[in-house]
Symmetry: C2
Subunit: 209 residues, 2 copies
């Protein structure tokens, strides 16, 4: 029997922008790849201490893979469970290897004017909640397709997810979750047409029965 | 014709401990796996700003692999070259995926008393130079053997390097380099006998001809 869920409204993560929300332990968040292509960079910070955050380098050893999937429990830099993968209709390809894009990335790609980027989006989204982070942790890049060959080689490819597919994550502690609908429009990580689009999220709360 | 090199004395990285040194751009450092087994966690910070540091998540995208090897140029979180792999007699297996061990890791393994760890070693070694870091970046784990399967699965294995083998790295900017001879003695990442040992490093300076 499935646990009854109360769902919040769908909240937009605007194309090229960030969004942050507080979650209580046990709440679920469904991240919806509304248009099928955008990568959603995702971070989580402990509400009790923003110096404790979801860490890809700590999680990989505990989950035994570079590709988290349903059942994976992501860890903080204090090795505590923070976010679990509950279900995933998106094809299950997410990335833990690649840094958030940043002003330096776009400068190297030839941009001579400021370009929206996931690193600045993290800072802005936290600031909207009156918070800040001393660093930019390596993000959990939902829907990002970084194929890995047998020799450890990594390449950048388009997402395999389709419009309306999602992944559902559970907060394992009281946390702040941050998303950025990746603004990358110079490489096809957000699809071959290099057009960043909105994504959405929805907080789901288990109902006691 | 090889460039003449002036070598400093060999400096010990004591078993279970850290060590830090300043390097000028162009200097080389040879990290010697003296006894063949220990993992040497390695970090580099820009001398001009310790908030800029060698970043595994930024480097992997630029070098196109999770396994750096001769010719790989590691990047900072500002995407500037910081440390290059010049030569490597150790079998070429180093890790960029796994966090430094820390007090939390040993607590989860059952330690009820304090255990030396690479995260605290980084802080102590920086403090010896009057420095501190606001965070513990994911280390470059020299000689650490984390086999990766075709599906992204990671396992912990013993190093493949043998006694006296080394890797030589070049500073691409003025930097502070930090090493920790990993204190892990509860899992065989430092060899099947789980006995941490010394390692050594040596600064080499190219001579103008």
């Amino acid at each position: 029997m499935q646990t009854p869920l109360a769902a919040s409204r769908r909240i937009t993560i605007p194309a090229r922008c960030g969004a942050a929300a507080r979650m209580s332990a046990g709440q679920l968040v469904r991240v919806i790849n509304t248009h099928g292509q955008p990568v959603v960079d995702t971070w989580a910070f402990a509400q009790s201490d923003p110096g404790e955050f979801m860490s890809m380098e700590h999680s990989r050893g505990h989950i035994g893979t570079v590709f988290p999937s349903t059942g994976s429990v992501m860890r903080t830099n204090h090795r505590r469970p923070i976010l679990s993968f509950i279900d995933d209709t998106s094809g299950g390809r997410h990335d833990t290897l690649i840094a958030a894009c940043d002003r330096y990335r776009y400068q190297l790609l030839g941009c001579t004017t400021p370009h929206a980027n996931c690193t600045d989006n993290l800072a802005s989204a936290l600031a909207d909640l009156g918070l800040s982070a001393a660093r930019t942790p390596c993000p959990l890049n939902l829907f990002m397709n970084i194929p890995l060959d047998a020799h450890g080689g990594v390449t950048f490819a388009s997402p395999i997810s389709r419009a309306g597919q999602w992944v559902t994550l559970r907060a394992e502690m009281d946390l702040v979750i941050v998303f950025s609908a990746c603004p990358q429009d110079m490489l096809p990580v957000n699809g071959q047409n290099c057009t960043p689009t909105d994504a959405h999220y929805q907080i789901l709360t288990e109902q006691s029965t």
